[in-house]
Symmetry: C2
Subunit: 381 residues, 2 copies
């Protein structure tokens, strides 16, 4: 049915939509419940052709700005288009042409401030290539990721950018073989060989932890996301490597992987700060963890050092030292690779790792109790 009746007050008197299709008998097979129920009775090229007194193909030519139409004919067609309020049905066009000029993006959560800029960057690249973006959130659920990705394939998106939630992407093999270009971002694909764009989680975490060590810390905690998430594991590996490189032994009590729910992170922080040998510094595995860790530390009387993975808005004012990755660059790089494939590139799968940057802002330069006095500027710049 759709919306209709309450628009009465704003109906114009230009005679829009008063021309009806007349060539359809009431009970032809293949005809749904009357034309009125479909697309709200939209005019088609056929209607435009009839109104303009030209052939169907001529209308098509005008609509698509193809050459070979007399200026006069074109004008007549344009008039018919406008008076009927015609708009080309891209669904039909897609069916015929085989390309949808749209790409799909499966990410974790559009509301996460990390994915907004990534998505926007993908959108801009898509726009530059004349494509629309359909995106969906997997909510970190592998089943939902698959459901979404396949739904996008059923819509026949030309390409797919996936931030994996799951670890087995063989379900995409038929799609990829059928020609759906696919690029994985932020995390690698599972059990499938494909273009991938990542940030250097390992290197970033190692650098962040090394930074804490350089400032005198020996007991450093690591709080990260769930261990089934690739970046969480990589960052933990970076942590372990930095510790080992410095000849430091890691206690199991200093490592906590799990949900990024505030309660979980908060109790992890509290656990590491209490006990006989509390940590003097924390490494937070991602933006969600950092936010909660900062809140937890703000309520503590001890000055605990902190370095977080991912930059956060206002982190500068709070003096939070971070390992920043460029979410927009991640999205842009992935999208560019996708369109390179769509434009015919067919070499081996490409693997890109983007550098991270350590931004010292104070919290990562706090020295441990008993260490030399802090030589760095205070937290709030």
């Amino acid at each position: 049915m759709l919306i209709a009746a309450h628009w009465h007050t704003h109906r114009t008197t230009t005679g829009l939509r008063t021309v009806a299709n007349t060539d359809r008998s009431p009970h032809t097979p293949g005809r749904p419940r009357g034309r009125e129920a479909r697309y709200g009775n939209r005019p088609t090229m056929k209607d435009v052709a009839a109104r303009a007194g030209v052939g169907l193909k001529t209308v098509s030519r005008v609509v698509n700005s193809e050459p070979g139409v007399t200026p006069d004919t074109e004008r007549r067609v344009q008039e018919a288009i406008e008076s009927l309020g015609f708009r080309r049905n891209d669904s039909a066009r897609v069916l015929r042409k085989g390309r949808t000029a749209s790409i799909g993006l499966v990410l974790e959560d559009l509301a996460d401030p990390f994915y907004g800029p990534l998505s926007r960057a993908v959108e801009e690249v898509a726009r530059a290539h004349g494509a629309l973006l359909i995106n969906g959130s997997s909510a970190e659920d592998p089943d939902r990721e698959q459901e979404l990705a396949l739904a996008l394939c059923a819509r026949r998106v030309d390409g797919l950018i996936v931030i994996p939630a799951g670890h087995d992407h063989r379900y995409l093999e038929p799609e990829i073989k059928a020609g759906v270009a696919t690029v994985f971002v932020d995390r690698p694909a599972g059990r499938i060989d494909a273009d991938t764009v990542l940030s250097d989680s390992f290197g970033g975490a190692r650098a962040g932890v090394a930074h804490l060590i350089a400032h005198g810390h020996r007991r450093i905690g690591f709080i990260g996301d769930q261990p089934r998430i690739h970046t969480a594991v990589e960052r933990l590996r970076g942590y372990r490597t930095a510790m080992r490189d410095a000849g430091l032994t890691v206690s199991d009590d200093w490592i906590s992987l799990g949900s990024t729910a505030p309660e979980r992170v908060r109790s992890a922080v509290e656990g590491m700060l209490s006990g006989p040998e509390p940590v003097t510094a924390l490494f937070a595995g991602n933006n969600r963890v950092t936010v909660t860790a900062v809140r937890a530390l703000a309520g503590s009387e001890r000055r605990t050092a902190l370095v977080g993975f991912d930059d956060i808005e206002l982190a500068d004012l709070l003096g939070i030292t971070v390992i920043a990755q460029d979410a927009a660059a991640l999205g842009r790089t992935a999208a560019e690779q996708l369109f390179r494939r769509l434009d015919g590139a067919n070499g081996e799968p490409v693997r890109v790792a983007l550098e991270t940057v350590l931004i010292p802002r104070g919290s990562g330069e706090i020295r441990p109790p008993g260490g030399r006095p802090d030589p760095v500027t205070p937290p709030v710049r």
Copy 2:
């Protein structure tokens, strides 16, 4: 062409895609450059039917879980589907059914932390109704808004949610008449009567400014977004009303509307804090302004009070008093209204205004110099 060659190493040996269509002569009219060029040579229901030795419609029944198929037949069809890697082409389905099960969302910038949660909320409602979400950013450009909205209509989205950049939406009239349900969010539609979901910008700003006045301020500055943006004007109106209600005269120097670019906001802040009669408090018109204002104030020796419109992550730790609006509720409410229309509701256009909440965190409770000492808890809670 699409991606293909480099997948060789992962080709399985299950015989996928070895069954070809055989009923197409090489030079039939209407045939594009050979079937291989289309959808990367995907199997169709016809192919599945041939493989399973059943009729086309039976395949359709199985694919759509329609009743009336023998378990045995169904199994044979399922096998054919799997061995061929068939996936229904929703483009064709859409063309036939007239519904795309997708909705469009035109917003300003997906990278803005205000719109991420809004978009996610819309997505969740759409998902509950079995629809996908296509979204695009207008970048605050009316032409781009129109281009996007119409592109979505050409894809025949069932409904459209628009955060207007422009002020004239008559261009949507033919679409709406043709049955595209349309809801405007965050800002009202221009020159058209339509469902609208807003936050109470006027009331929120008035309450925020009244809060500052109640804490002893008499000279209060307002820094807002560009005057062509509805919310900016409404919030300014709230500011003026609160001032007038308190019997305070407003100096032109205390009001600055314009771009939210950091340089612009920063110089506005500096301007209001200098001169013979500097303001003692600031009202920031949105999240972008607040962020820059906080940065600017952090570099000043004077303690200036601040209330910002929109909540911001970490604002709690920085002790920033805000007028919070619920972006997710905005999106959810709009999407629910949209689906109500799609489900047949056809009353008069609905207008919803969501309440805002003042969250005192310290910055809005700072008293002016010379005023009574601050009776409120210190900034960081």
